[in-house]
Symmetry: C2
Subunit: 317 residues, 2 copies
């Protein structure tokens, strides 16, 4: 499991009985955030803002919580339940869309049993949802995702129109020869489309940060951010303008005050150092400020030694 | 696990992938009925008419099915999910209300892993729901069940007013000295009450059945049916009148035609022999016919060698 598979992070929520196990899981996963004890707010935030959710509680309790928050297959976060004693890691929803893998990882870290209940032969299929994520776009109309899935699971091929097929999608082929087509950008009605996001890069940096430009560009490449689609780079540090120049895009300088005033449900919980400055964080806030009210946090802040990078996006058109 | 713990039977439903495992489970459990492949109707019937449900499918699929069908804690059937390969038996809802025990039993029969996720110390508590069942009554108002449970789980005692405490309910004491009270029959507003059912006994019998009276009385005693609350005994066989006499209650004779015309969603699937007679069964149909339109199947037909017995009920008052 690596960072870029969980770009929006993994939220860990527990009942009081499960707190100890929840803390272990949050430490063991590279991109996990302990949202603390269960509350309606914490759960809403987890569903709205994270790629994955780990609920440390009884399965029955977890089922009651997720019912009503489930969306179409392949949409919404992967949810894994871990019992308060850490004995089992159980993919609850979106098993094929990350939950099986997340449960496997947790079971390796905690010595739990991964309770995989989907039939094995299906497990090799790379989730369609990964495609939208890799292309930094979102599927429209979402209702079609489940239909595509069920036909693909029955062995049908789908065609990639207007984009190259990333690795691992054996059921996709380039061209227009299939009945099932996935369009990129310019969509045809009745088909599944990937609408690309306009991208906004937020950068936080220590005052003494060295080689900020090279560091940030390296992270963006690792995240496979398509350079031509970056609309703006923002920061509270003038030095970050070098990144914008390298990408050939606009730079926006923000003040600490603007960031302090900004609130968004998807901002990562802040560290103590940041809190003492009255800040919850910079990179995510700046990226979301630039993306505007319809913006979505696409990559939760990546923490490097001297800087942080986050990506927000809005659907074009 | 014995018969009287699952008086309304256990419904087994599967996807086509899980059919083989579903058949094994249906054979292994004493009171299980294979309702076949998943359909909305089969699921509705299972939720309305059975004490327990086993869903043989992926956990994510099962969650999508049960969401929206869940009632207050302690109400509705216990639901266990078994994956199509039979590796895991997972209590999904109403864990403390039978699902843990059902999953344990299945895991023993199939060699599966029972995925128990509730904290161990709670497992010893005999479910409140058992009380209503043992007293052949139903709780009113149902909204109070969850409140009573949460206070009892925190260590509070509840008082049994107007009935003797059956075995195993350590958190109940006879008397009126507790803040939490459970009344029997004559209820006080604001408290949890057990409203007793009027009981109707349906009897099916082979033409050549011997000692029908003694056999049926033995089964009724095993089921702990309170004799004084039986309002009527019914059958298509005149010989069954002996049972009514022994109980000091009314006997009603039915014709095959009346039974053929009768339809109720909770009738057990019929055997081939019965179907060839144009009948789905006798005991349940007769019991439900006597109980009238508001009647409920309380004990699914118990099959003895030469006869069957079923119990239906309506709430008094």
């Amino acid at each position: 499991m690596n960072l870029s598979d969980w770009p929006r992070g993994i939220a860990v929520i527990s009942t009081s009985e499960g707190r100890e196990v929840a803390e272990k899981i949050a430490k063991a996963l590279p991109n996990a955030y302990l949202l603390g004890d269960y509350s309606r707010d914490a759960l809403d935030e987890a569903f709205a803002c994270y790629s994955g959710i780990v609920l440390v509680m009884s399965l029955g309790g977890a089922v009651r919580l997720v019912c009503g928050r489930m969306s179409e297959k392949g949409e919404g976060p992967a949810v894994v339940v871990v019992d308060p004693l850490g004995k089992f890691a159980i993919p609850l929803i979106n098993s094929h869309w990350g939950a099986n893998e997340l449960a496997q990882t947790i079971s390796e870290k905690l010595g739990s049993i991964a309770v995989i209940t989907t039939v094995a032969e299906r497990k090799g299929m790379r989730p369609l949802e990964d495609l939208a994520r890799l292309l930094y776009g979102e599927f429209q109309p979402k209702e079609l995702i489940a239909k595509y899935y069920s036909r693909i699971l029955r062995g049908e091929k789908a065609c990639a129109v207007g984009f190259d097929v990333p690795e691992g999608f054996d059921y996709l082929e380039k061209g227009e020869g299939c009945e099932l087509k996935i369009y990129y950008g310019n969509c045809k009605e009745g088909y599944l489309c990937v609408k690309p996001y306009r991208l906004y890069i937020g950068i936080g940096a220590k005052r003494e940060a060295h080689s900020l430009r090279d560091g940030v560009l390296r992270v963006l490449d690792e995240l496979r951010v398509p350079r031509e689609r970056v609309k703006a780079v923002g920061s509270v540090r003038k030095e970050a303008e070098e990144v914008a120049k390298a990408l050939g895009t606009e730079f926006r300088l923000f003040s600490f005050d603007e960031i302090r005033r900004f609130d968004h449900e998807c901002l990562s919980p802040g560290s103590e150092t940041l809190s003492s400055l009255g800040l919850q964080g910079v990179a995510e806030a700046v990226a979301l400020l630039m993306a505007g009210p319809r913006g979505k946090l696409l990559v939760r802040k990546v923490r490097e030694k001297e800087f942080t990078v986050a990506v927000a996006g809005t659907v074009e058109g």
